[in-house]
Structures are given as structure tokens and as C-alpha cells.
């Protein structure tokens, strides 16, 4: 049974070139001098109950805007969203009782109060029955080791600790869907892993449908069955992670700091995709050529100072998808 159905979803932002000064600013209210940003452009997808989906894209791709429309914060410019038979922004009060939302960039907890106070307030806001509340609190406290955190003011928590509390806050009222916008942003590796494992358990044990946005491929690699990749507002990939890796993930990147400036750099089977001063970014397909081979070739022809190998980034995969789209 499908739980979320998105059809031809678009969102445009009219950005006014607002003149300075009050009266002219007021005039700007009615003036026509604006440009349009197409943040989300004809997005379509359907999710099933119990799905765990990664919504990924580079910065400014349109992830947050999509989530904001799905959660009922923004009204779409055009297109349709049907979640559990409701239209988010129209049936907001009914709808928000059934979803949980986490924004990685800002907390929803009361900043100056102990964490526990926020939970108590949410209990009243969502009218959570006492028994459910107690059970959930016990469950999440154990899973996320909240015991020593709940009496501390939110502002004194580290980013990772705060995220654990925010996750709990979003799930106390037993939502059927959990939306997360960049839940791992700014976290260290350990904390990131903890969030991922937690989401996986919530999805598996409580049958919560999870949709999370990220620009970090590692977030979704192990836990999401399905990926949606968005770029400049459009979905450019919809499928499994393995298929994606099969097709595009074979690229590795070698970042080289050259000892001096070279006017032209050319190495067989290697693409120079970026140059910044004496630093160059070399992309290669690890099926065609091994990393050590690339290094050998580079050092044979050029004097180098330093080098690093990096995993493919989302930007690189997006580039690949476009490239193959053009040759297909």
C-alpha cells in the first residue's frame, strides 16, 4: 500500500530584488522586479509503508524544499502530494499528529530548558497518552542512552547528544512517517553511525516509514533500500544503492598537490576534473586502472608534494549520471 504519493511537484521561489529603504521596500511588495528560483521541478515518486528512503543531492539541490512541502510547511507551487490520504498543508493539524520531523540544522527542543521539559511539553502538544509516553521514553532512553542527558539544558548538549534527543522528541507520539532533513550534518563519524543504526532499528522494529535527506552517501549506503537523487530540483536517479554503485560508483578520486605549476596535465585513463592553483583532482575508474597505477604514472611525469585518495562524492556521481545520460 502506498503511503506517500508525489505527482509533478514543483516549487518556485520568487526572489524580489528588494530596494533599500522603507517606502521603496514597501513598493517592492507590489513591484515586478523579481527573479524565479525553481527549487523543485516536476518531482514524482511513490513510497510504500515501511520504506526507508534516502533523498540525496548536493547543496542547494532542493532536498529541504521537498521535505518542507512533504511536512506541510511550504505550499507547493503546483503538483500534488498525497500522504495517507491527506494533503499536508491543508490538513495540517490532523497530518502533523501522524508524522515526526527532524531538522539537522536546528533543534526543536526548548533551548534553555532541560531536555525532559521539552519531552513533557511535546506530550501535551501531541496529546500522547501517559502510558504510551512512558513506554516510548523508556524505549528511546535505552536505545539512545539518554539517561544522563535528560536533566541537562539543551544548550549545553553537544551536537550528537542533541540529535539523539531530537530523534526521541520526533518519535514520542508514534508517528507513522519520520522525515529527517540532514540528520547527520556536522556530526562526527561515531555519532553519525549511531544515528544510522538507530534509524534502521526504528524502521525495522516500529514499522516507521523513513525518508531522510543527506549529501553524504555513507548515510544511505547501508541503511536505505532505495535512493532518490535530486539535482537542481529534478530527480535524476531513482533506484537501489547497488545498481547505482554498479553503474557510477566505480570512480575514485586522487587529489594531488603538485610541487610546481604545469601548463598541461595529461595522463592516460585519468580525467583531470578540477584545478585550483597547484592542486588537481584526478578521477579514474578503478576497473580500468588501479590507484597505485595512477600514482605511479603521476609521479613518473610530475613532481608532486602530497596526495590523497577519496571516495566518490555525491557531486561526482551526479556528474557521472549526467555524462552517461548524454551518451545513452
Amino acid at each position: 500500500m502506498s503511503i506517500i504519493k508525489v505527482e509533478h511537484l514543483c516549487k518556485q521561489f520568487k526572489v524580489r530584488e528588494r530596494p533599500a529603504g522603507f517606502w521603496r521596500g514597501l513598493g517592492g511588495l507590489f513591484s515586478r522586479t523579481h527573479h524565479i528560483i525553481q527549487a523543485v521541478d516536476d518531482v514524482n515518486f511513490t513510497l510504500q509503508r515501511g520504506d526507508m528512503v534516502g533523498y540525496i543531492g548536493a547543496n542547494g539541490a532542493g532536498k529541504s524544499t521537498t521535505i518542507k512541502m512533504l511536512t506541510g510547511i511550504l505550499v507547493p507551487t503546483s503538483g500534488k502530494i498525497d500522504v495517507m490520504g491527506l494533503t499536508p498543508y491543508q490538513h495540517r493539524r490532523q497530518y502533523t499528529r501522524r508524522i515526526g520531523v527532524v531538522f539537522g540544522q536546528r533543534t526543536q527542543l526548548w533551548w534553555d530548558l532541560p531536555v525532559m521539559d521539552s519531552f513533557e511539553l511535546l506530550k501535551h502538544i501531541y496529546e500522547i497518552p501517559e502510558r504510551t509516553y512512558k513506554q516510548n521514553l523508556a524505549f528511546f532512553s535505552e536505545l539512545l542512552q539518554l539517561d544522563c542527558l535528560t536533566s541537562m539544558p539543551v544548550r549545553t548538549l553537544s551536537l550528537g547528544e542533541r540529535m539523539r534527543c531530537d530523534l526521541t522528541a520526533a518519535l514520542l507520539h508514534n508517528p507513522e512517517i519520520l522525515y529527517l532533513d540532514e540528520p547527520t550534518i556536522g556530526l562526527d563519524v561515531v555519532a553519525k553511525e549511531q544515528v544510522r543504526q538507530f534509524l534502521q532499528r526504528v524502521n525495522a522494529e516500529r514499522q516507521v516509514t523513513v525518508i531522510l535527506t543527506t549529501h553524504d552517501l555513507n548515510d544511505v549506503e547501508k541503511i536505505c533500500q532505495r535512493l532518490l537523487i535530486i539535482d537542481t530540483g529534478r530527480i535524476i536517479y531513482d533506484g537501489g544503492i547497488d545498481a547505482l554503485k554498479q553503474r557510477y560508483g566505480r570512480t575514485r578520486m586522487l587529489i594531488v598537490d603538485l610541487a610546481r605549476a604545469y601548463s598541461k596535465i595529461q595522463i592516460e585513463n585519468v580525467d583531470v576534473i578540477r584545478r585550483e592553483g597547484n592542486r588537481i583532482w584526478l578521477a579514474f575508474d578503478r576497473d580500468t586502472i588501479s590507484a597505485s597505477e595512477v600514482i605511479t604514472r603521476v609521479t613518473a611525469h610530475y613532481e608532486i608534494q602530497d596526495l590523497t585518495i577519496s571516495e566518490p562524492e555525491i557531486e561526482e556521481i551526479v556528474r557521472k549520471i549526467y555524462q552517461s545520460g548524454m551518451t545513452d
Partner: protein
């Protein structure tokens, strides 16, 4: 789920309480704000007193009359501040995207915003206003009856609703443009000042404006005709003395409708 009145009263207290508890950590600033409010009011009254040692009357209004008018306005203002001050810097709410967190709660957004930042120091404004009002009531030799008492309460509530509607209007501008600071200042400050003096000192055009467009005259002037037993309707019908609740409800409905439109155009924030 329980009775909505019970639910929302409880929620209001809880949310307001949470904010007050957060603010309690800055006790010094609370005391300071109270002192500032009281000093401000005292200065104005002092100024009025000085003014009236020069002029016995203004357009036939004596010092107690003016004080009465002023305090009626400042009562309405104080009440509005306690309930609706959250909308004062609503542009910050909009620009920082704080409204996002409000919109994902199963509670009407306006209710949530109003409940979640109740500034207690405005209660000190209320207190000062009550003191000045009682003094004026006594000095103007108005006989207190149950009818007049009720009329006063209705007038103050209506007046605060009118000023609240202005707040809502400026918040709507903030929703649409991401800015509102100046508009709030103009609407609120101007209405507070305009409410403090008899509108008979203004030319006809301004009087019409203050009656039909920004109905500040219903906050103090027309109701004061009734309480002070005056008959200076300046060409307006005499039943305007009872018009405050009507003006308040009409204005509030208009501004609320605009607010609803503004909500649909909320843009959140980039990033």
C-alpha cells in the same frame, strides 16, 4: 482528546510557562525591563502634568480628561502587549525560519506563536496603567456603577484587540516580505500616541482615517465620550460611543483573513 477550551488553556499555560522559565535565567533583565516600563510611563504622566500647568484645557479637555483618555489607551496597549507581543519581532521568526518548527505541530500556528513567548514584564505595564487609570477615573469625577465598570472592561478588551489586529497586520507583512520592523513601529507607536489624545485636535481627514481605516478612535475617544459624558462626536453618529467591539471584531476578522493568506505564502528560509 479533551474539550478544546481545556486543552488550549492548559497548553497556553504550559507554553507560556516554559518561556518564562527560560527567561528566568536572566532575572536581571526581567527586573530591568520592569523598571524601564514603569519609568517610561511615569515620565509621560509627568510631561502631561507640566503641559497642563501652561494650558488649562486643550479643546475643552482638562488634565483629568486627558489622563483618563491616555490611561484607557495604555490599558488597552498593555493588555495587547501581554497577549500579542510575540508578533512584535515576527520578522525575525520568519527570516530565521523559526516558523517551520511551529508549522509541524498539531496546533494552530497563531496560537502557538502567541503562547510561546509571553513576556511577563509587560504585566508591570498593566499595573502602572491600572494605577493611572484609577487616578484619572477618580479625578474626572466619574461615578462608578456596574454598567460603567463593564463598559470600561469591554472598551479595554476591544481596544487591545484593535491594537492586536495592527500587530497581526505587520506580522502578515513580515510573512510576505520577510521584513516588518518599521511597519510595526509606525502602526503601533502611531496608534498608541493617537489613542492618547482627543482626535478633535486633528483635521477631518485624519479623523476619518482614525475612525474608518485604522480605527484607533474606538480605542479611547468614542468610548470616552460615554464615560466622561461628553458630546463631541464631530459629525459622527453618537452610537459610535458603543462601537468599539464592532470595530474591533471587524478589523480583527479582516486582519486574520490577511494573515491566513500570508501563511500560504510563507517561504521559510533557504539553506
Amino acid at each position: 482528546m479533551c474539550n478544546p477550551i481545556v486543552r488550549y488553556s492548559k497548553l497556553y499555560l504550559l507554553l507560556a510557562g516554559a518561556y518564562v522559565r527560560s527567561r528566568l535565567q536572566y532575572r536581571l533583565s526581567f527586573g530591568f525591563m520592569c523598571a524601564a516600563v514603569i519609568a517610561g510611563e511615569a515620565c509621560l504622566i509627568g510631561l502631561l502634568g507640566v503641559l497642563f500647568t501652561k494650558f488649562r484645557t486643550v479643546n475643552g479637555w482638562t488634565l483629568p480628561d486627558i489622563m483618563f483618555l491616555y490611561s484607557l489607551g495604555s490599558l488597552a496597549f498593555a493588555l495587547m502587549k501581554i497577549v500579542g507581543n510575540q508578533l512584535d519581532d515576527f520578522d525575525r521568526y520568519v527570516v530565521r525560519g523559526d516558523l517551520d518548527a511551529v508549522l509541524i505541530k498539531p496546533v494552530p500556528p497563531l496560537f502557538y506563536v502567541l503562547a510561546s513567548r509571553v513576556e511577563l514584564h509587560h504585566a508591570s505595564r498593566m499595573l502602572t496603567s491600572i494605577v493611572i487609570f484609577c487616578a484619572a477615573f477618580y479625578m474626572a469625577r466619574i461615578r462608578l456603577t456596574i454598567g460603567r465598570g463593564l463598559f470600561t472592561i469591554i472598551t479595554v478588551v476591544s481596544g487591545s484587540l484593535i491594537m492586536f489586529a495592527f500587530m497581526l497586520l505587520s506580522a502578515t507583512v513580515a510573512l510576505l516580505t520577510g521584513k516588518s520592523g518599521k511597519i510595526t513601529d509606525i502602526l503601533i507607536t502611531a496608534s498608541k500616541e493617537a489613542a492618547a489624545f482627543p482626535i478633535s485636535i486633528y483635521p477631518l481627514a485624519v479623523r476619518l482615517l482614525l475612525t474608518f481605516i485604522l480605527p484607533v478612535a474606538f480605542v479611547t475617544y468614542y468610548p470616552a465620550m460615554h464615560l466622561l459624558g461628553k458630546d463631541q462626536f464631530l459629525g459622527m453618529p453618537a452610537y459610535f460611543q458603543f462601537g468599539a467591539p464592532v470595530a474591533a471584531v471587524a478589523l480583527l476578522l479582516c486582519c486574520y483573513a490577511l494573515w491566513r493568506i500570508g501563511m500560504r505564502h510563507y517561504y521559510s528560509t533557504g539553506s
